[in-house]
Symmetry: C2
DNA sequence: ATATATTACTACCTTTTTGTAGTATTTATA
DNA sequence: TATAAATACTACAAAAAGGTAGTAATATAT
């Protein structure tokens, strides 16, 4: 699942950006909004650019925007890009080779729970988040 | 969820012990069976004793046995005892105060998936693992 | 042109997690 | 009683993750 803070930060950032309507997001602005440590945030942002999620422009008035359509970015993609280990496809009892090799006694029921997660994660795109956010805003009026 | 290798090791160990019928499990034996680094395993075993899952006897022929009934140990208990951070009750978008404070847009659907996991984890005791294991053995005959 | 506001790069520091080493203690058995 | 096979304790080492610092590069605005 989500093992690292970095992944969490990434989801925070992308989720935030997806639900607002700014033309451009500078690291400094995101830092103030999201309270993620400045320099670490910067690094993560260039990382997200290298991974093709964002597009950066240097210089004054520079910042970050999405490099692709929001429909193309689902949460599972973000997570699996940033997480070093695949915690989802890991045996819950800690035995190696879940799925491929012989399954452990928890395998079936655990798979059921996990596939529900994966389903949600891979079916939720940033565009969905945006839509949901705007709907929620309207409801509150 | 399961963030640390240590937690994974713990589940491996307890799951293994629960499904076999030895009178006593020495660190050396478990090391050979489970391939967990010797010294680290030892430490984890005394840790599991301190947490009340196991009971140790020193000296020759010593080793570890369960300190309570298998019915009393569910997987969620093991995980929450060993994990430093509560990864289950964490906002998936990385915002703070999931549950207590105002929920994010993913909250409801994410909760649904998580509660399924927690349900499975907390409803599965080591006794269940043992039963399942033995049933599986019979099926294979 | 110069100052300013931005990202990019590289190296380092700190904390947490994982793993190792040495020595002491306990206890059964020969 | 000596030996061997265990756990217990404490400190250290290595690796990974999280976070910081300095400086270079880029582009806009004045
Ligand atoms: S093998 Fe254990 S969960 Fe799949
Ligand atoms: S507040 Fe985000 S998942 Fe609960």
């Amino acid at each position: 699942m989500i093992r690292n803070k970095t992944t969490e930060y990434a989801l925070t950032i992308l989720g935030f950006m997806a639900t607002r309507n700014e033309d451009m997001y500078s690291a400094e602005y995101l830092h103030k909004q999201l309270n993620i440590p400045r320099r670490y945030l910067r690094r993560l942002l260039t990382d997200l650019s290298k991974h093709g999620f964002l597009k950066s422009t240097s210089g004054r008035n520079g910042g970050f925007v999405f490099a692709k359509d929001l429909e193309e970015i689902n949460l599972d993609l973000v997570i699996s890009t940033l997480e070093r280990y695949d915690a989802i496809n890991t045996c819950i009892l800690g035995f190696s080779c879940c799925i491929v090799d012989k399954p452990c006694i928890m395998h079936d029921i655990w798979m059921e729970a996990r596939s529900k997660m994966v389903e949600i994660l891979s079916n939720t795109t940033l565009a969905d988040l945006k839509e949901k956010y705007q709907m929620d805003l309207i409801k509150k009026l």
